[in-house]
C-alpha cells in the first residue's frame, strides 16, 4: 500500500503541474456550466406576468374564469390580475403597459355556451409580450374547451333524462358545475424534486469532464510505458499490482478533488444547489468510481495512448448524450429516458434530482449510488485486471 500511495502522490504532482489536466478537470467544466446556465438558464427566473381582466358578462361562468385559472396563476405567484370595467379599459391597460395582455369575457358569453352557440373569449396582447399573451390565450382556450366538453356531456345525457326526477336533473347540474377547473396550476412546494437549470448544467458538465479526468490513471500506464519509466517502476522492489493500485488511487483522488472543486465553485459562484452535502459526497464518490471503471476498461483495450484517448473521448461523449448530460431527456421520447439509465451520467443526475428536495437525504440516493458503484466495480475489475498485463510483460 505504501508503494501505491507513493505512486499516487507522484502522479498527482505530475497532473497538477500539467495545466492541461487542471483545465480538463476544473476550468473547462466550470466554464461551460457557467456559459450554459447563463445562456439557457433565463427561463428559470420567476415569471412576473401582468394581466387585465374585464368581465362584461357578469354570469356564473364568467366568474368561474376569474375564480378558476386566473386565481390559480395568481396564487402560484407568477401573475397579477387587475380587474377592469370594459373593453376599452382593458385595451388601454395593455397599450399603456400596465398589463401584458387582457382577457375579456364578452356579454352573452354564458348564454352562448348554454345555447350551444359559439362561445368566445377575447384576448388582447401586447406586441412586446408574446410569451405572456400566449399563456393567457392558452388558459382561455383550455377553459373554453373544457366548457365545451361539459356542454356536450350534458347534451348527451339529457335525452335519457326524460323520465328523470327534478332532483336527478338538479344533481346532474350540480355535478357539472362542480367539475374540476379546466386549468390547474400546481404548487411547486418544497417537496418538488427537480434541479435548477444552473445545478443541472454544473452537474452534467462535471460528470462529462469527469470521464476525461478519471482516465488519467490507467492512461498514464501507457504513457509511462511509452516514455520508458514503467520498466523502472516494475524493476523496483514493489509488487506489480501496487503500480496499478497507485495509478487507480491517483486517478480517484484527482476525480474527487476535481468534483469537489466544481461543486464548491458552482455553488458559490453560480448559485447551484446540489443538495444534502453527505448525499452529494457519496454520489460523487460513486460517480468517480463508475467513471474510473469505464475509462480503465476502455484504456486497457487500446494499444497506444492516442488510441486510448480517442476511444475514451468517444465513449465519454456518447455516454453523456445518452445520459442526458447535454440536454434534458424528459423533453424527448420515453425510450430515451429508459436507455439513459445504462449510463452513469443518468444515475448521477437522477441522484442529484432526488437530493434537490429540501427534506431529501442520503437515503434517497441509495439506488443511484448502488447503480453507479455497480457499473464502476464491474468495469473497473475487468479494467484493472487487464491493466496488470500492461505492467508486466509476458
Amino acid at each position: 500500500m505504501r508503494a501505491a500511495l507513493i505512486i499516487a502522490a507522484k502522479d498527482l504532482r505530475q497532473r497538477l503541474r500539467d495545466r492541461t489536466a487542471i483545465v480538463v478537470a476544473v476550468i473547462a467544466p466550470f466554464g461551460l456550466a457557467a456559459i450554459f446556465s447563463t445562456l439557457l438558464g433565463g427561463v428559470e427566473q420567476p415569471l412576473d406576468l401582468a394581466y387585465a381582466y374585464a368581465d362584461l358578462d357578469g354570469t356564473q361562468l364568467s366568474q368561474g374564469i376569474r375564480e378558476g385559472p386566473l386565481t390559480g396563476i395568481e396564487s402560484a405567484g407568477i401573475a397579477t390580475v387587475t380587474l377592469v370595467d370594459d373593453r376599452d379599459a382593458a385595451r388601454a391597460a395593455v397599450e399603456e403597459g400596465d398589463a401584458q395582455a387582457a382577457l375579456i369575457v364578452p356579454a352573452g358569453f354564458e348564454s352562448a355556451v348554454t345555447a350551444g352557440a359559439g362561445a368566445e373569449l377575447e384576448v388582447i396582447g401586447s406586441i412586446d409580450a408574446g410569451f405572456a399573451t400566449d399563456i393567457l390565450r392558452s388558459l382561455a382556450e383550455s377553459y373554453v374547451a373544457e366548457l365545451e366538453g361539459v356542454r356536450l356531456a350534458v347534451a348527451l345525457a339529457l335525452p335519457g333524462l326524460d323520465d328523470a326526477s327534478p332532483a336527478a336533473i338538479a344533481a346532474l347540474a350540480e355535478r357539472a358545475a362542480a367539475i374540476e377547473p379546466p386549468i390547474t396550476v400546481a404548487d411547486l412546494d418544497a417537496e418538488a424534486r427537480e434541479m435548477s437549470t444552473t445545478t443541472y448544467f454544473a452537474a452534467s458538465m462535471a460528470i462529462f469532464f469527469l470521464f476525461f479526468t478519471a482516465q488519467f490513471g490507467v492512461l498514464s500506464l501507457l504513457s509511462e510505458r511509452r516514455q520508458g519509466t514503467l520498466p523502472r517502476l516494475v524493476a523496483a522492489p514493489i509488487r506489480p499490482r501496487s503500480i496499478v493500485l497507485g495509478k487507480a488511487l491517483g486517478s480517484f483522488a484527482l476525480g474527487i478533488v476535481a468534483m469537489a472543486v466544481l461543486v464548491a465553485a458552482s455553488s458559490l459562484l453560480l448559485g447551484a444547489a446540489w443538495g444534502d452535502p453527505l448525499g452529494v459526497a457519496i454520489l460523487v464518490l460513486a460517480a468517480v468510481t463508475a467513471a474510473m471503471g469505464i475509462t480503465a476498461l476502455i484504456t486497457t483495450l487500446a494499444r497506444t495512448e492516442e488510441q486510448a484517448g480517442g476511444w475514451n473521448s468517444i465513449v465519454a461523449v456518447t455516454l453523456a448524450i445518452l445520459g442526458g448530460a447535454f440536454f434534458d431527456l424528459s423533453q424527448g421520447p420515453e425510450i430515451l429516458s429508459q436507455i439513459s439509465f445504462i449510463t452513469p451520467h443518468a444515475w448521477f443526475l437522477e441522484g442529484l434530482d432526488l437530493l434537490s428536495g429540501s427534506s431529501s437525504s442520503v437515503v434517497d440516493v441509495a439506488t443511484p449510488v448502488a447503480a453507479l458503484l455497480g457499473i464502476g466495480l464491474v468495469t473497473g475489475a475487468i479494467g484493472l485486471a487487464r491493466a496488470g498485463d500492461l505492467v508486466v510483460r509476458r
Partner: protein, 328 residues
C-alpha cells in the same frame, strides 16, 4: 593502466568466488520467435560483465528477465543467492536498473525524480535525503537539482537516468545500452562513471553493441547473437579463440637488430622484427608485457620514441563466431 589491470584480475577472482548474479538457461519466446534461447552466465562482486551483440540479439530481453520485468519461459535468476522474478520484492532491492530509454519524469525536478524512486526502494527520512544528495553529487547535478528535467540537456538526463539506478546502493547494477544516442563527451563521462563504480566493488551487467565500450569496461564479455551466448570470457580469452595475437610497434633508434633479438627471448613474445625506424613484435598480451618490453629495450641500448599497440578486437571475434559484423 596498472590499476585497471589489477582491478580486472581481482574482479575475475571474486567473480568465481561468490557470484552476485547467477542466471541459468534463460529462455523466452514471443509467439514463434525465440528471443532468448538458453542464456546463462554469472557475475561476481566488482566484476563488470558485458553482453555484446547487435540490435535484436536478445540483450534487452535477457536483462528484462534478470531484472524481473518480463516473465520468463524457463530458467532461473539468483541475485545474491536469492531467486528473482517479477514478484520477488526483496531480491529486486539488490538490483539497480538503468534502462536504455530515459526513464525519468520530465515534469519533476532531478531531486524529485530521485526521491520518488528512492522511496520506492524503501529509502526514507534522513537516509533518503542524504542518499539523494550523494547521488546528485556523483552525477554532477547538485547545482541543477531543483530544476524540472524537461529543461535538461540529453547528457544531463542520461546522468540522472544512471543516478536513479544507484540510489539503492545496489549489489548488481544493470545498464542497458546507456550510451545510445549520447554525444561523445557525455558518453565518455558515462563510461568513466561505470569504470569507477566497478572499481568501488559493484557488480555490473552492461549491454552494448559498441565493441569499444565492451573492451574498455568489461572484465568479461558474453557475445550474444540470436538469443544465444556464442562465447564468453575475457577479451584475451575471446581473442585467443580466433588465434590472433597483439602487435606492438616500437618507434625506436639504436641497435635495433640486437634489441629485437633480446626482446624475442622474452616470455610472451612470439616474434620481434627490426626494421627501419623501429621494431615490430607479436605478443600474447601487449598491455601486460609492455612495461617489461620498454625496460628491456632501454637496457639493450634502444631509445624508444613511440609505441603503438594493435590488438585483435571483439569485432573480429564476433565476425569469426557469427559470420556477421556487430553493426550488421
Amino acid at each position: 593502466m596498472a590499476a585497471s589491470l589489477y582491478h580486472r584480475a581481482m574482479a575475475i577472482e571474486q567473480a568465481t568466488a561468490a557470484p552476485v548474479l547467477e542466471c541459468r538457461d534463460l529462455r523466452k519466446s514471443f509467439g514463434d520467435r525465440v528471443a532468448v534461447d538458453g542464456v546463462g552466465f554469472s557475475i561476481g562482486q566488482s566484476e563488470t560483465y558485458g553482453l555484446l551483440g547487435p540490435n535484436g540479439a536478445g540483450k534487452t530481453t535477457t536483462i528484462s528477465m534478470i531484472c524481473g520485468l518480463l516473465v520468463r519461459d524457463a530458467g532461473s535468476v539468483l541475485v545474491g543467492g536469492a531467486p528473482l522474478d517479477v514478484n520477488a520484492v526483496a531480491a529486486k532491492g539488490d538490483v539497480g536498473f538503468v534502462p536504455q530509454d530515459l526513464a525519468i519524469y520530465p515534469e519533476l525536478s532531478a531531486r524529485e525524480n530521485l526521491r520518488f524512486f528512492g522511496q520506492l526502494y524503501g529509502l526514507g527520512g534522513a537516509d533518503l535525503r542524504s542518499r539523494t544528495d550523494e547521488v546528485l553529487e556523483i552525477i554532477g547535478l547538485a547545482d541543477r537539482a531543483d530544476e524540472r528535467t524537461d529543461g535538461f540537456s540529453g547528457g544531463m538526463k542520461r546522468r540522472l537516468n544512471i543516478g536513479i539506478g544507484l540510489l539503492n546502493r545496489p549489489k548488481l547494477l544493470v545498464l542497458d545500452e546507456p550510451t545510445v544516442g549520447v554525444d561523445p563527451q557525455s558518453r565518455n563521462a558515462i563510461l568513466s562513471s561505470v569504470e569507477s563504480l566497478g572499481q568501488q566493488g559493484m557488480a555490473i551487467l552492461y549491454t552494448t553493441h559498441y565493441m569499444e565500450e565492451a573492451e574498455r569496461l568489461c572484465d568479461r564479455v558474453g557475445i550474444i547473437d540470436q538469443g544465444q551466448i556464442r562465447a564468453e570470457g575475457t577479451r584475451r580469452e575471446l581473442v585467443s579463440l580466433i588465434g590472433q595475437r597483439d602487435r606492438v610497434d616500437l618507434a625506436a633508434t639504436g641497435p635495433l637488430v640486437a634489441v629485437a633479438e633480446a626482446l624475442r627471448a622474452m616470455p610472451g613474445v612470439n616474434e620481434a622484427t627490426a626494421h627501419e625506424g623501429g621494431i615490430s613484435l607479436l605478443v600474447d598480451e601487449a598491455r601486460t608485457i609492455l612495461p617489461r618490453l620498454l625496460e628491456s629495450a632501454a637496457a639493450t641500448g634502444a631509445s624508444v620514441n613511440g609505441v603503438e599497440i594493435v590488438e585483435p578486437d571483439l569485432e573480429a571475434v564476433f565476425l569469426h563466431l557469427t559470420g556477421r559484423a556487430l553493426r550488421d
